[in-house]
């Protein structure tokens, strides 16, 4: 029952996202045609009525809205997100080319910062009031008040430019030929370290604080006292009793953190000229390549919604109280 409800809920959200995407160019001030053709809406290129009519017909913009909406949905279902103005290629293709880099970047960062944040938060709370806790709290609060792009820029300046430890940017050495796959992997890794570190440091604060708070309320819970009364060791209590309970709010908030992380990637990719979807979005924004901007919006949103759905399912699995309802 729970699953079906949730599934329906997420389908509705996806439908809403698709609709937002549909109405964006049509509801915004300016000429919708300009958004497809890529002119600056403030200074429309002069066009004869006839040309205009033709263009409108070409993009189906002359039809009534509901019909346009149906067309849009049909196109989407075929994976057609329109054509990029700048690249003259299907939007979908452009996104897919860049996708692997973003996945690599976000994936690596998530795999590290989530467990690390949870671990540090739990340890901090378990030692609450002690030096260790205060120190890590203040450090993490301070570090995470830097926006990712400021942090990333500083990293580039110090670790790449001044110390020369890492490349200045990009995902791999441009124009390099590799002797074997291992060499290629190492090169990619070398390029990956700074952006991933930036993402981790910029985003660990949220998870850390949440886990610490959640853990603090768990520590005061009666069942922890009850576990102590059984003679269990502190480590065992932390691992077996406390963490799982403390994780519940983390999973609920995973939705937000995943969203933040995805957005953070955009800034980090710009700083490091990392050729992922984020950089693509940035470039498209500069070029006012609206079909591409919309395509990326759609892509990221649906990705985040899916991640949410998974987090929700994980919650059901973690908390037996929910599945009964």
């Amino acid at each position: 029952m729970h699953y079906i409800n949730k599934l329906a809920y997420y389908l509705v959200i996806i439908l809403i996202i698709l609709s937002i995407n549909f109405f964006l160019p049509r509801a915004m001030p300016g000429d919708p045609l300009a958004y497809v053709l890529g002119e600056n809406p403030d200074m429309p290129i002069r066009m004869t009525e006839e040309e205009r009519e033709m263009k409108l017909a070409e993009y189906g913009l002359d039809k009534p809205l509901p019909e346009q909406y149906v067309d849009y949905m049909i196109k989407l279902s075929k994976g057609d997100l329109g054509h990029s103005i700048y690249y003259k290629n299907p939007v979908m293709d452009e996104i897919l080319i860049r996708l692997k880099w973003t996945l690599l970047l976000t994936g690596t960062a998530t795999v590290i910062y989530m467990p690390l944040g949870i671990f540090l938060g739990a340890e901090s709370a378990w030692a609450r009031g002690k030096k260790k806790d205060t120190l890590s709290l203040i450090t993490i609060l301070t570090v995470s008040s830097f926006p990712s792009f400021v942090l990333g820029t500083l990293f580039v300046i110090f670790f790449a430019f001044k110390l020369g430890l890492f490349p200045l940017g990009c995902a791999n050495t441009i124009g390099a030929t590799y002797a074997n796959p291992l060499e290629e992997a190492l090169d990619i890794l070398h390029h990956l370290i700074l952006p991933v570190a930036t993402l981790i440091i910029a985003h660990i604060g949220g998870t850390y604080l949440l886990m610490r708070n959640s853990m603090l309320s768990v520590i005061g819970a009666d069942y922890i006292l009850s576990a102590r009364a059984k003679g269990l060791s502190e480590r065992y209590i932390l691992n077996r009793h406390a963490i799982r309970n403390a994780l519940l709010p983390i999973v609920t908030m995973a939705a937000l953190t995943i969203g933040f992380m995805t957005v953070g990637t955009i800034f980090v990719e710009k700083v490091f000229a990392y050729p992922g979807i984020g950089l693509l979005l940035y470039d498209s924004v500069l070029r006012r390549d609206y079909p591409l901007i919309q395509g990326i919006f759609l892509f990221i949103s649906i990705f985040v919604v899916l991640a949410n759905f998974i987090a929700d399912m994980a919650y059901v699995w973690l908390d037996p109280r929910v599945s009964d309802e």
Partner: protein, 281 residues
């Protein structure tokens, strides 16, 4: 005990930082040595005339950053105050009425919180003309949801308190109960939420401006940072030190100040530092 002390230190530190920044923002014309739009020799190194040098078009960077404080804080506080008021009002309605309207509000909140709002903000900003007012409106539209959710759940708790039943029984109207019994108990929570939202907006605005979507006339810290970042080979010279670092540090300091104050407030409202486990109250 130490927890309380740390809180006070962090709280005062945060308040101090914010006080300085707010003073700078208010008295920007008096403090700034030059008009940020006046042009002098471009790309000057710091000197007694231009403490932080000049930028690529010859604006005095220090003055630019001082005026940038105004822009950044103005956006942050305007957005968070408005968003908090909207969020609190809708949260109160959703929590207190619990009818169809409340249900609808909460569904909208859920949906908005699931969609990555920053991406949508970037896309909207790309469609609209670059101005701080457009940014403010967009941030408000996407800024009230968390408050609404938190306020609603608090109202639900408060509503089940016997003193609300008592007020009803003593003859209080719904309006009386909301104003007299519910709202005052929600306020502390809302204040914390206001601070959190302000720091979100500071970061978000800086990010949007870093992508080149900020107002080119009223330049915020993010915009200044972005112009510096876009300047060719900035890191090869030393210019990053006086051109990039100051706005970057200002953003971080503001967020830090807000975080410290918010953290100290939250801990005070919600003391989890129980002295003795299992002690009877």
């Amino acid at each position: 005990m130490t927890g309380v002390k740390v809180n006070n230190v962090l709280g005062s530190l945060g308040l101090g930082i914010l006080a300085i920044l707010i003073t700078v923002a208010i008295f920007a014309p008096q403090i700034a040595p030059y008009d940020p739009h006046d042009t002098y020799k471009w790309m000057e190194r710091p000197s007694s005339e231009h403490l932080l040098g000049t930028n690529d078009v010859g604006n005095d960077i220090l003055s630019e950053v001082i005026y940038g404080t105004r822009v950044s804080l103005f956006i942050a506080f305007t957005v968070s105050i408005t968003a908090i008021i909207i969020g609190t009002a809708l949260g109160l309605i959703a929590g207190y009425s619990s009818g169809v309207l409340g249900f609808l509000i909460m569904r909208i909140v859920d949906i908005f919180l699931t969609i990555p709002r920053m991406v949508l903000i970037i896309v909207l900003a790309a469609f609209l003309t670059q101005s701080i007012w457009n940014l403010i409106v967009i941030f408000i539209i996407f800024g009230w949801m968390m408050t609404a959710r938190i306020v609603r759940s608090e109202v639900l708790t408060l509503r089940s308190q016997y003193y609300v039943d008592s007020a009803k029984m003593l003859g209080g109207s719904d309006r009386y109960i909301i104003w007299r019994h519910i709202l005052p108990n929600v306020v502390p929570l809302v204040v914390v939420q206001f601070i959190m939202e302000a720091s979100h907006v500071i970061i978000a605005e800086a990010g949007i401006s870093f992508l080149g979507l900020g107002d080119p006339v009223a330049r915020s810290w993010g915009t200044i940072f972005n112009y510096a970042f876009e300047y060719p080979n900035i890191i090869l010279s030393d210019a990053w030190m006086w051109w990039m670092l100051p706005p970057g540090l200002c953003i971080a300091a503001t967020v830090l100040g807000l975080t410290f104050v918010g953290y100290a407030l939250e801990e005070r409202l919600n003391p989890k530092l129980k002295t003795v486990v299992g002690m009877e109250a």
